[in-house]
């Protein structure tokens, strides 16, 4: 691929990118969030039409305007969000879109789809149950289905987009050995990731991207993890202090720092007062949770008997692999999903009361899916900031929009939201700016319990640092903060206390500094419980 350029409206997502994958190699495509890795591969796969640039396969130029062209050219892609039809079986998902009557086996004889799938899964160690409905399968198996789907179509180049995100270490090992088997069979693999350790473990070569640009392509033998980290982050404009803060965040979120150290290393500017207080005198609990349970469909509860006691100013981190009931737990803890048990803030019982009452008691939720749960995309920033407090601020059922607009302008300045005006629809803002709007609204509620779920997912370093600063500042003012995150490093960097969500339960508990990432990792995979 050379000179690839792609814009979304005024945003330049890719700017003249060159990228080459050799035969029989695993090529790492590295970059931070928003570097353009996925966008580049979506162009290769025909999902996005590039504004400029050319693609060559085996030395001859190809025109790829749709996934069909990409498949014909021998390109297969496993997306981060699996593109599967939930109600279809494994076989149906793999066969979908192909002609099931004209399959030719390597020896020239005709094959049935079932034979081809069985052959591929044994050759590459991708075990699946062909008759199972994919909606019922765990993430690791669904990923195998995706890889089989690409191989079934005769992919020569297989693109994997952040494939290890929700896998257990055992599943990651299996995946890597399958990748090796695929490459040994004469194909190529592109591994999109932001985890340097992974590329060093499995890749032959890697390309680093930043801000939609190609930065470097290196052989594994010629580089070190530290060099790669430096290349990924690049030089940072601005004062030394800011650069240092950003670099630290970068280290933490890249997972390159020795993890034990990272957990001990508190940010220079915001030493939480709660951390000092808890060693001296035990403060009475502000938030008490007892036996909080969310019933599930098949008898197994989604959130199982969660009990917590949190002091003012305390930051509790909940780590865990996605899909262990975090979403349900977040909603149960913030009164946005019905649950049984008890949760009280400053002695006031909230379970069973409407969401508005929870908000009124200072329970504020910063949801994981910002577009879906956090904002009214078609409404202006002012209206989005009013959402949730619209009843309390109204007089005789009428909202004073003039006052709301003035407040909105102040909040936009305070939270450094980049926007042309306070009337700009929230849906037009970038992810980082949407999160700033959501935080501005959250802090306007004067929260007593602030719950953040994956608060920095998809944000650039600056916005990530901004979120961390705000969270620490809220805690220093006595707010109880719960951070639920799949990013273990984030949990370790922020929390006074760490626990792990596993299968709807909270397992293990560590004070700041005691948390050992390996113990946490065992709990997260259900080994240590």
């Amino acid at each position: 691929m050379s000179g690839i350029r792609k814009t979304f409206g005024p945003v330049v997502a890719l700017d003249g990118v060159d990228f080459t994958v050799a035969n029989r190699e695993i090529h790492g495509l590295l970059g931070g969030n928003g570097a353009g890795k996925t966008t580049l591969m979506n162009v290769l796969y025909g999902l996005y039409a590039p504004d400029a640039g050319t693609v060559e396969v085996d030395g001859s130029p190809v025109t790829i305007t749709s996934p069909k062209d990409a498949i014909t050219a021998g390109i297969g892609m496993v997306h981060q969000n699996f593109l599967q039809v939930d109600v279809f079986t494994v076989t149906e998902n793999i066969v979908l879109g192909t002609d099931s009557t004209k399959l030719v086996a390597p020896d020239g004889s005709t094959q049935t789809p079932a034979q081809r799938i069985a052959e591929l899964s044994s050759r590459f160690g991708l075990t699946v149950d062909p008759g199972a409905r994919v909606a019922d399968l765990p993430v690791g198996v669904r990923q195998r289905v995706e890889i089989l789907k690409a191989l079934y179509r005769g992919a020569k180049v297989l693109v994997l987009d952040e494939p290890t995100t929700n896998l257990t270490p055992q599943e990651v090992d299996d995946l890597f050995s399958s990748m090796r088997a695929i490459v040994d069979d004469g194909m190529s693999v592109v591994l999109i990731t932001h985890k340097i350790r992974e590329t060093m473990e499995v890749c032959d070569r890697m390309t680093v991207m930043r801000d939609g640009r190609w930065i470097a392509t290196v052989d594994k033998a010629d580089t070190t993890a530290d060099d790669l980290a430096a290349t990924m982050i690049g030089e940072i404009a601005g004062g030394d202090a800011e650069a240092a803060a950003l670099a630290q965040t970068a280290q933490v979120s890249l997972g390159e720092e020795e993890l034990g150290e990272a957990s001990l290393d508190t940010s220079s500017e915001a030493e939480p007062e709660g951390a000092a207080a808890d060693t001296v005198t035990p403060t009475p609990a502000r938030v008490t949770v007892r036996g909080l349970t969310v019933a599930g469909k098949g008898g197994k509860p989604l959130v199982d008997d969660v009990t917590l006691s949190l002091r003012p100013g305390e930051i509790l981190g909940i780590a865990g692999v996605a899909g262990n009931g975090q979403g349900e737990l977040a909603e149960a803890l913030t009164g946005t999903r019905s649950a049984t048990g008890s949760l009280s803030v400053d002695g006031a019982e909230l379970v069973g009361r409407p969401t508005a009452a929870w908000l009124g008691s200072g329970v504020v939720y910063v949801p994981e899916d910002r577009q879906r749960d956090g904002i009214l995309p078609g409404a202006g920033i002012t209206e989005n900031l009013v959402l949730g407090s619209h009843r309390t601020r109204a007089k005789a059922g009428m909202i004073n929009w003039r006052a709301a607009r003035t407040e909105a302008v102040a909040a936009i300045k305070e939270f450094s939201v980049k926007t042309p005006s306070a009337a700009t629809p929230c849906g037009q803002l970038s992810g980082g700016n949407i999160q700033r709007v959501i935080l501005a609204r959250a802090f306007a509620h004067n929260p007593k319990l602030l719950l953040l779920h994956n608060p920095t997912r998809g944000l650039d370093l600056r916005s990530t640092q901004f979120v961390y600063d705000r969270v620490r500042r809220a805690a220093s003012q006595g707010c109880v903060v719960i951070v639920i995150s799949e990013d273990l490093d984030e949990v370790l960097a922020l929390s006074d206390r760490v626990t792990v969500a596993y299968s709807g339960r909270l397992v293990g508990e560590f004070a700041r500094g005691e948390a050992n990432p390996y113990d946490l990792g065992r709990l997260m995979t259900g080994v240590g419980a």
């Binding site: 979304f8 593109l83 039809v85 192909t98 879906r372």
Partner: protein, 292 residues
């Protein structure tokens, strides 16, 4: 009793065409709500063309083409232009209904309308379209669940992004599913003047288009269950007509309500089954950065 059965089988035909058309569009993700208008259009075109061009077959073909045109506009506006399916569907409902009314007025005027010849019986006192409707239902079941193309169509209604990523052309699939679906609906409408009344009237459809949507939900958007469910809808209709004529001690207005009230009651259960295509009524934008 056998007369009741015969009448019910006849009454099933329009329901089957319209509900299977709704199902076909819906399984590709196009939620057509213009059935009532499409049936009116089909009835008017079918009547007028049969009368002027001489022959029910020509009338049925013309009705199908008119319906296909409306279906194509709906599919095009909701795929290429990504307009809201319900809004466009309602707009086409008016336009199709208005066109039907206008066509009739222009050709017939205010005179006493001549009757067209009814469809001839084939066997067992049933006309050919009865067999076509049942065969169509069975064919659709086989095609949707036993062929590659049918699987592709279903995937477009369940997860168009996944379908797209496998090289299935979502827009083209929706275009023709919406077009063929609407053509079937118009044929269902054309059946009415050819079998029941012999003439067109503005009230000829009497809510059957809306009931057919209910039937699609009732049948879980599956052709074989729609075939079974259409018997229930048809029986309700025949029951109401017969009770109205013979009188059963209840004011006839209450008997006439029966199909609608019964459908409402049935819907309470049908929606509990929740066998609905995941992307029914939702448009697909490949470059949308919000993951659906």
């Amino acid at each position: 009793m056998s007369e009741f059965l015969t009448l019910t089988i006849t009454a099933m035909v329009p329901f089957l065409f319209v509900a299977q058309g709704t199902m076909l569009s819906g399984r590709a993700g196009i939620f057509n709500v213009a059935q009532e208008g499409l049936m009116l259009l089909g009835a008017a075109v079918g009547y007028v063309v049969s009368l002027k061009a001489g022959g029910n077959v020509v009338g049925l073909v013309a009705a199908a083409l008119a319906g296909a045109l409306v279906g194509f506009i709906l599919s095009w506006a909701t795929t290429s232009l990504r307009l809201d399916q319900f809004v466009v569907g309602l707009a086409l409902f008016f336009l199709a209904g208005g066109t039907a009314s206008l066509l009739y007025r222009v050709v017939i005027g205010n005179d006493e309308p001549p009757r067209i010849a009814p469809l001839p019986d084939l066997v067992f006192g049933q006309d050919a379209l009865v067999f076509v409707a049942v065969a169509l239902s069975l064919f659709l079941w086989w095609w949707l669940y036993r062929t590659d193309a049918g699987m592709r169509l279903r995937s477009v209604g369940e997860n168009p992004k996944a379908a797209d990523s496998l090289g299935i052309n979502v827009t083209r699939t929706r275009l023709w599913a919406g077009t063929v679906g609407a053509a079937l609906m118009a044929v269902g409408g054309a059946y009415l003047p050819m079998v029941f009344s012999g003439v067109y009237a503005d009230g000829i459809v009497a809510g059957r288009g809306w009931l057919a949507i209910a039937l699609a939900f009732f049948g879980g958007w599956r052709p074989q269950f729609i075939l079974a469910g259409s018997a229930f809808f048809a029986a309700m209709e025949v029951l109401a007509q017969r009770a109205q004529v013979s009188g059963i001690g209840v004011p006839h207005q209450f008997v006439s309500m029966l199909p609608y009230v019964a459908t409402l009651v049935v819907m309470v259960f049908a929606f509990r089954w929740a066998l609905v295509p995941q992307f029914l009524g939702k448009n697909y934008d490949r470059e949308s950065r919000i993951v659906g």
